[in-house]
């Protein structure tokens, strides 16, 4: 290693209009930025008609350091003047040769392709229609897969179904419990004040029962399922696709839908109502706790709940859950199967699974709201 750790820059006027720029010392990645600033500053102070660069003093250098020499010899720092380089040691000349020609440099940043608004609009429409078609095809494939599994139950791979039940269902109980309990508490507290104005605090029981059973429990558990398991399905299947495991299944003559998807959709559809019913119980319990602290007795609350809640409310809530479960699990698997190549692909699929899952939950819930209103259920 050279004892000289810094770069030396010197500019001297030569006879006539010329000047000699002397560079020496270490011209490497640690000194290059400073040295270049100095070169630019010196050149700015002097008007030169011709420039000679004396590089014989450079005793250490690398590509970053040689970048200055490249810029100088190409005249990039002295417009209108073509400097002459002398005295550069052969090992550094080697480095200097690594720099590409100017037209190759211009190609480094090609202008991004821009599309007009109509093109964007058209592309978005086409992609939406394609996605719709993919979803329909997928639904068809799942139905086919289920039909095949019905004929030959062995195809269902029940162990996999049990694993999904455990991961997506049992393991979700703590978070479902916490969120449902807090929702019950919050709704009861929020309802208490306005109802108190009418002396109607006992109706907290009606409210908590109806809100949790018909709306909040199905929706929140579905959103939890989308975030936990829809995302997991997309990531699992997406990773399998990236690792060519799906191709392996395909070439073994195994249908990935029948092998991976129907188990998840079946488990999702079946466990969602169970989770949702559990959430209803916990949510209502949260409300009851608040009411008990307000001085109501269990008997009062129970009578009020029984009067407000009907079997049809529970049926509406539970039937929604079946649909939500199928949608969340199906979308998770679909996005997983649609995973493209590249490092972001699995992440993108996961995001799309969760976003599409939550969106569809709300859309389907709206449809249910209209239907139940029209049918007076």
């Amino acid at each position: 290693m050279s004892p000289d750790e810094s770069a030396r820059v010197d500019l001297r006027q030569a006879p006539g209009d010329g000047a000699v720029l002397t560079l020496g010392g270490a011209l490497d990645v640690s000194t290059a930025a400073e040295a270049r600033r100095e070169v630019v500053a010196r050149l700015a102070q002097t008007r030169v008609a011709s420039l000679q660069i004396d590089a014989s003093g450079i005793d250490r250098g690398d590509v970053s350091g040689m970048a200055i020499l490249y810029e100088l010899t190409q005249g990039l720092l002295t417009p209108g003047v073509s400097p002459k380089l002398t005295g550069l040691k052969p090992e550094f000349e080697h480095l200097l040769k690594a720099f590409p020609a100017e037209d190759a440099l211009r190609a480094l940043h090609p202008p991004p392709a821009r599309r007009g608004i109509f093109e964007e609009l058209g592309a978005a429409t086409v992609s939406m229609l394609q996605d719709l078609r993919a979803q329909l095809t997928f639904v068809g494939a799942i139905v086919q897969g289920f039909a095949a599994a019905l004929r030959r139950p062995r195809l269902m791979r029940w162990h996999e179904v049990a694993v999904v039940f455990e991961k997506a269902g049992v393991n979700a109980l703590p978070i479902v419990s916490l969120i449902s309990l807090l929702m019950g508490l919050v709704i009861a507290f929020e309802a208490a004040q306005p109802l108190e104005m009418f002396g109607a605090r006992i109706f907290i029981a009606d409210m908590i029962g109806l809100v949790m059973v018909r709306e909040f429990s199905p929706i929140f558990t579905a959103i939890i399922l989308a975030g936990r398991s829809g995302a997991a399905f997309a990531a699992e299947i997406g990773t399998m696709k990236v690792n060519e495991e799906l191709n392996a299944l395909e070439t073994m003559g195994l249908d990935p839908i029948r092998f991976l998807v129907i188990q998840r959709v079946f488990a999702g559809t079946m466990l969602m109502p169970v989770l949702s019913a559990y959430s209803m119980l916990i949510g209502v319990f949260g409300g009851v706790v608040v009411m008990v602290t307000m001085g109501f007795t269990f008997a009062q609350i129970w009578a009020q709940l029984i009067g407000a809640l009907h079997v049809r409310d529970v049926l509406v809530g539970t039937s929604k859950s079946f649909v939500f479960g199928a949608i969340v699990a199906g979308l998770g698997c679909l996005r997983g199967m649609q995973t493209k190549e590249g490092p972001n692909a699995v992440g993108d699929s996961t995001t799309r699974a969760v976003v599409a899952g939550i969106l569809m939950i709300i859309v389907v819930d709206s449809v249910f709201a209209v239907l139940t209103y029209v049918l007076h259920v």
Partner: protein, 263 residues
């Protein structure tokens, strides 16, 4: 290759994951400017040794010195300074998929130098030119072939002009022509820039083409069983496993006919 100054000293290094010992008491030196090869069969601990040398994993015991400084115990600024002495090309290239090839090579320059944007582009372009990848500068890694990704990995490893490059299985997964091209790149970088290479590989062709010296790790005895020039080991090693490796023979030589003939 002219100098024989030691740039890396591996001293009595034992690598283990928990109770599972991978290699015991490995000791060797890497000299300035040479292409040094770490050989061994699958599972012999080549990659684990490499990981220890580049500071990713901590060996169970021993020292790994770069110009006298131990990377095993170095922390904070000292460790950063040591990390700046070398670049690493990972087996898969490990390019950042969200960036173009040029941006990948520019990243270390962006993070660790004060160069202006044009100079960084210029330096990155020169690096890509050195590995013959300039025409692909604006492409994303996913649009590159395996060989090109490895070249880009080398260019990125060289971004800050380190004196040492570690290459993890540069020929793995490449066709013979691409692999030979990569070997030529390594050779020319070593010859023209005096870069010291530490290469993990088990491709015999590559070993002969680029290797100045090598060591061989044995997964069964969990020790280093040979050190020397590849040709010498092939022709003169007394260890049956070493000869078997170089002669590309299948079964253990204990009872076979490849055991005692050579040398």
């Amino acid at each position: 290759m002219s100098a024989t100054a030691t740039v890396i000293s591996v001293e009595d290094v034992t690598i283990a994951y928990g109770d599972n010992v991978i290699q015991k008491n490995v000791t060797f030196d890497v000299h300035a400017g040479e292409v040094f090869i770490i050989l061994g069969g699958s599972g012999s601990g080549k990659s684990s040794l490499l990981k220890a040398m580049i500071g990713l994993d901590r060996p169970a015991s021993g020292r790994i010195l770069f110009d006298g400084d131990d990377i095993v115990t170095a922390e904070g600024e000292d460790r950063l300074r040591l990390l700046r002495k070398f670049g690493v090309m990972y087996q898969s290239g490990a390019l950042f998929g969200s960036m173009t090839v040029l941006e990948n090579v520019r990243l270390p320059l962006d993070e660790f130098t004060d160069l202006g944007p044009e100079e960084k582009d210029l330096v990155a372009a020169a690096k890509l030119n050195q590995v013959g990848l300039l025409p692909a500068a604006a492409r994303k890694p996913s649009a590159l072939s395996g060989g090109m990704q490895k070249r880009a990995g080398i260019a990125r490893a060289m971004a800050l002009d380190p004196g040492i490059l570690f290459l993890d299985e540069p020929s793995a997964g490449l066709d013979p022509i691409t692999s030979a091209g990569l070997d030529e790149t390594i050779r020319s970088l070593s010859r023209d820039l005096g870069i010291t290479f530490v290469v993990v590989t088990h491709e015999l062709q590559s070993i002969y083409a680029i290797g100045d010296r090598c060591i061989m790790l044995d997964g069964r005895t969990k020790t280093m069983i040979a050190e020397g020039k590849p040709m010498d080991l092939r022709d003169h090693s007394t260890d049956p496993y070493v000869r078997q490796f170089f002669l590309r023979q299948a079964e253990p030589a204990a009872t076979g006919n490849g055991g005692t003939r050579a040398s």
